[in-house]
């Protein structure tokens, strides 16, 4: 290719980039500026992929900044052709900013409840998910795949056998760590998928010398808690939140029904639970009846118990001080503050069962439950978000998968992706 051809191609690409940015709703900008702003307010065409573009930049070794409480939690990146290309391919709105504009922006941020958090390194992510689970079976794998964020899928053997410290962030979704498969045996015991998963888990239990699935899952839960206490980040949704806590507190108690381990739940189990081992909850009461599809009173909605089931409402995200409480601020960055609720086997968390010191990130006003909580455990931290799929409020087994291309601005999925980027943030000393 001669020089003229190269020049022509270069210009065509540059023109295409500018035209694309314009077409996407972005601001018409010079071909090269000093920074690119990914707005995360209503101007953003694809919020979810904006996280992917930022994550991709971090993987390339590019330093980014997360502008907390500024335009819905915008991202500021250096103006690089590779990032413009990635944004154009993903349909992400960007705005070019020169040094003057960035100075003005920083001035405005210094005045208000805003702050810029440096993002330095792409976190290494693992998702605890069965080997044969498709990506759409879990809201987090769905969001990560859609946003273009890579992750490793790990299962019981990896948790028990390998060094989890190679990961910064682990996600759990709808696994039942009490080993009772969410008490679905009464309805689905002959369903092929249910039979397959039970056989798979039993084989795994035997491989690691455990008598039954509950024992295997308790061991996995203990390893995950150890990962957090050594400085890891854990994000859990749906049923994994509640059951992980029960498995930790009930380590030495029979909390599994007869269909899981051949013996009924210890009738005195409630009194024997050791809640000091748990991360988020204390004093919960176990659901003893094998026919009642609930684990404990931690879940506020009890979706699968007809006479207890609570209707869905909306939940509101709390606002935090970006300068003094950056962690909580990062987790609630959003372009909406009130979100539609959605069910899961664990939809919400009963307020009275939370341990003191747990930070409530979102709640339903006036309800005895909260939706989104965060806390520290040892040297690490955990975040729990209730519900299964933010864009499928009534999610049922066998329901068609959510197509995130139809929800590129989903505020619920943004909460998940906030958690993905949060471990990338560099800790700044507090200004107090």
């Amino acid at each position: 290719m001669n020089l003229m051809d190269r020049l022509a191609r270069g210009w065509r690409f540059a023109l295409a980039v500018v035209m694309g940015v314009t077409a996407l709703g972005g601001v018409v900008t010079p071909l090269h500026a000093q920074h690119l702003l990914l707005p995360m307010d209503a101007m953003q065409a694809n919020h979810l992929k904006a996280y992917g573009v930022t994550f991709g930049a971090l993987r390339e070794g590019v330093r980014a900044e997360w502008l907390l409480n500024y335009r819905g939690g915008a991202f500021l990146l250096p103006d690089l052709p590779s990032l413009r290309r990635a944004a154009l391919l993903a349909g992400v709105t960007l705005e070019a900013m020169d040094a003057g504009a960035v100075r003005t922006l920083r001035g405005a941020m210094a005045e208000g409840n805003m702050d810029a958090v440096p993002l330095e390194k792409a976190p290494r992510i693992a998702v605890y998910t069965p080997p044969d689970a498709p990506p759409w079976d879990d809201a987090v794998t769905l969001a990560l795949t859609y946003a273009g964020i890579p992750y490793d899928a790990i299962w019981d053997d990896a948790v028990l056998d390998t060094d989890l410290s190679t990961y910064d962030w682990i996600h759990l979704h709808h696994e039942d760590f009490t080993g009772q498969q969410h008490k679905l045996a009464s309805v689905y015991r002959d369903a092929p998928w249910f039979v397959r998963s039970r056989e798979r888990d039993l084989a795994m239990a035997r491989r690691f010398g455990h008598a039954d699935i509950p024992a295997l899952k308790k061991a996995v839960a203990a390893r995950l808690a150890a990962f957090v206490s050594r400085g890891g980040f854990l994000f859990a949704m749906c049923g994994s939140t509640e059951t992980l806590e029960l498995a930790l507190a009930g380590r030495d108690v029979d909390i599994a029904g007869v269909t899981a381990d051949g013996s009924p739940i210890d009738p005195a189990a409630d009194g024997k639970m050791d809640w000091t081992r748990a991360m988020a909850f204390a004093g919960a009461t176990l659901e003893m009846a094998p026919g009642v599809n609930a684990m404990s009173d931690i879940d506020g909605h009890q979706v699968n118990v007809p006479l207890r089931r609570q209707p869905l409402g909306t939940f509101a995200l709390f606002g935090f001080s970006a300068k003094f409480d950056p962690v909580a601020s990062m987790l609630v960055q959003n372009h909406r503050t009130v979100l539609r609720d959605y069910f899961g086997v664990t939809t919400s968390f009963t307020r009275s069962r939370l341990k003191p010191g747990v930070t409530i990130l979102a709640e339903e006003a006036g309800a005895p439950w909260v939706k989104y909580v965060h806390g520290s455990f040892g040297r690490g931290s955990w975040t729990y978000l209730g519900g299964h799929d933010p864009e499928d409020p009534q999610h049922a087994i066998g329901a068609p998968p959510t197509d995130l291309a139809l929800h590129p601005n989903s505020p619920g999925y943004r909460l998940i992706l906030n958690n993905v980027l949060f471990p990338a943030a560099k800790q700044k000393p507090l200004k107090t």
């Binding site: 209503a42 990506p135 372009h335």
Partner: protein
């Protein structure tokens, strides 16, 4: 006469009225003068009516009359006299507030409001009516302060729901406005139209907040109906129909569907309208409704649905008139589907109902059926019978098949029928100034006859003979090859387009289809590269969202 009756009734029903008969006569005189623009005379007559006891209609008349001459505050002296006599009369208080706010005497307006509030401290009326006046004058912030004061003093907004709703919409607090309007519609369903107009300007990014509040199963029916109407106005009639389609079938529902159909028809959403019409026909079948639905389905290009409905309209004992309405739609659908022989049989059977002239008018439709099938001679024979004014499309197609593309261009442009193939042909012909091309005619004739091999060859030849048509002709050839399942040959054509005609709009489609082929063949890397080329080289193309969707699909496959 009617005016006299109204005047009489007004005076009779007014609780302040005295000496009803003389006052009624004076009021009638005043209204006549007002209507004829004799304002001074009207003012005098209204004053007299007030003196004779018709206080409220008299004051309202005065207010109107003074407004005609832009002297809104001239009604105030009369009110100053009357209010001490009737301190709790809301109509008089309202008139005073309206006059004071209209002329910008805000402090006095507020004093008047305070005076009213002092007379009746537990009533919501002063707050509500004053807020209405302020809202009418676009004074959103003042109204907001006032309603906040009402909540503080009286503890609830129940009595001012409507004003709160209007206010929030006026202030652009869309989510709150949606909640308030939902509450209004729950207690007073007839406000659905007002709610629709108030919420129509909701910005795109905030429309979901309206959808959540008005579309929930627990929302009042009026709210769902208003949301459906909003979806039509926001350009998403299918979302609107999804809200209403699930309603249980009963008379109210059908009435709602009918109303929704009118909205969709105004917005020309023919596809959705067809679905609504089919639902109405299924719920309450009738031959008249079937004809109407068939006509709309034909307009939407849903030929099979139109055919079914047109036949449904002729079932059972129906009048010849109904047959005469339904048969042309049936013939049109058959012609579009290329079932000309069947259309001829239908026409022969319906001849008695259509009459000789009606039958002759269908000749063109039959001819179009033959054209679709590529039967040029039979089309030419059929069109001989047709009235001259109807022959444009037929003669256009016949000219095209014969290679007279100049004639075809003019004739097809004038044809009115909705026909995607005609649009495609016109798009091709519009790119050249040539007036003759046997090869183009051959290509389309071969297509009509189902001879895809010959069609592809002809399109490729067109690309050589008329370079200005090359990219589009090659794309047409590629489309035919793809439909035939000749993926490799189609790919070669797409490659030619993106290499030799990279800047044409056809290149975007070529990248997309070529990428899709690679994806089907399992070559994800090639597929990804082609979709990316489309986005990067043609960022303003309407196909970009499809390319992005394909990339998402690839990412999903790679994770499996």
């Amino acid at each position: 006469m009617i005016r006299r009756l109204i005047g009489f009734a007004v005076v009779v029903v007014t609780r302040l009225g005295a000496q009803a008969d003389p006052a009624a006569a004076v009021l009638t005189r005043a209204m006549d003068a007002e209507n004829q623009g004799r304002v001074r005379e009207a003012v005098a007559a209204y004053r007299e009516a007030i003196a004779r006891g018709a206080v409220i209609p008299g004051v309202l008349g005065l207010e109107r009359a003074f407004a005609l001459v832009a002297q809104e505050d001239s009604v105030l002296p009369a009110l100053d006299t009357l209010l001490p006599r009737f301190p709790q009369e809301a109509s008089l208080r309202n008139a005073q507030l309206r006059a004071l706010v209209a002329v910008g005497r805000d402090r006095e307006a507020h004093r008047a409001f305070d005076a009213w509030r002092a007379v009746d401290p537990a009533s919501i009326d002063p707050y509500r009516d004053y807020a209405r006046v302020l809202l009418f004058h676009g004074r959103m912030a003042s109204a907001d302060t006032l309603l906040a004061e009402a909540v503080r003093q009286l503890g609830s907004t129940r009595g001012v729901l409507l004003e709160v709703a209007q206010l929030r919409a006026g202030l652009g607090r869309w989510a709150e406005a949606a909640t308030a309007w939902r509450d209004v519609m729950a207690s007073e369903p007839y406000y659905e139209t007002a709610a629709f107009y108030a919420m129509q300007p909701t910005p795109v990014a905030l429309r979901d907040s309206v959808r959540v509040r008005w579309g929930a199963a627990t929302a009042p029916l009026g709210a769902r109906q208003a949301l459906a109407q909003l979806e039509v106005a926001w350009g998403a009639p299918r979302r609107g129909w999804a809200l209403l389609a699930a309603l249980p079938v009963r008379d109210t529902t059908i009435a709602i569907w009918e109303q929704f159909a009118q909205e969709v028809e105004r917005a020309e959403g023919w596809g959705v309208l067809t679905e609504v019409m089919v639902a109405i026909q299924r719920a309450r079948p009738s031959s008249a409704q079937a004809v109407r639905a068939a006509r709309i389905a034909a307009r939407a290009g849903a030929d099979t649905v139109a055919l079914r409905l047109a036949r449904e309209a002729q079932q059972g004992p129906v009048s010849e008139r109904r047959v005469a309405e339904a048969v042309p739609i049936e013939l049109e659908a058959l012609a579009r589907l290329g079932r000309a022989a069947e259309a001829e049989r239908v026409l022969a059977a319906a001849a008695p109902a259509l009459g000789p002239e009606g039958t002759r008018r269908q000749a063109c439709t039959i001819a179009m059926g033959w054209i679709r099938a590529g039967e040029v001679d039979r089309a030419r024979r059929a069109v001989r019978e047709a009235p001259l004014e109807d022959v444009d499309a037929v003669s256009g197609w016949l000219a095209l098949y014969e290679g007279e593309i100049g004639v075809a261009r003019t004739a097809l442009r004038q044809a009115e029928a909705v026909d995607p193939l005609r649009i495609e042909v016109l798009a091709l012909l519009a790119r050249t100034t040539a007036t003759r091309s046997r090869t183009i005619g051959e290509a389309y004739l071969a297509l009509a006859r189902g001879d895809s091999t010959r069609a592809v060859r002809a399109f490729e030849q067109v690309a050589t003979e008329l370079p200005e048509l090359a990219s589009l002709a090659l794309l047409s050839a590629a489309r035919v090859q793809a439909v035939r399942g000749e993926a490799g040959r189609a790919a070669a054509l797409w490659a030619r387009i993106v290499e030799a005609h990279a800047s044409t709009p056809e290149a975007a489609e070529a990248w997309l289809e070529w990428g899709r082929l690679a994806r089907r063949m399992g070559d994800r890397a090639a597929a990804r590269a082609r979709f990316e080329q489309l986005i990067l080289n043609h960022p303003t193309s309407a196909l970009v969202p499809q390319a992005r969707r394909e990339l998402d699909g690839l990412a999903m496959e790679e994770r499996r």
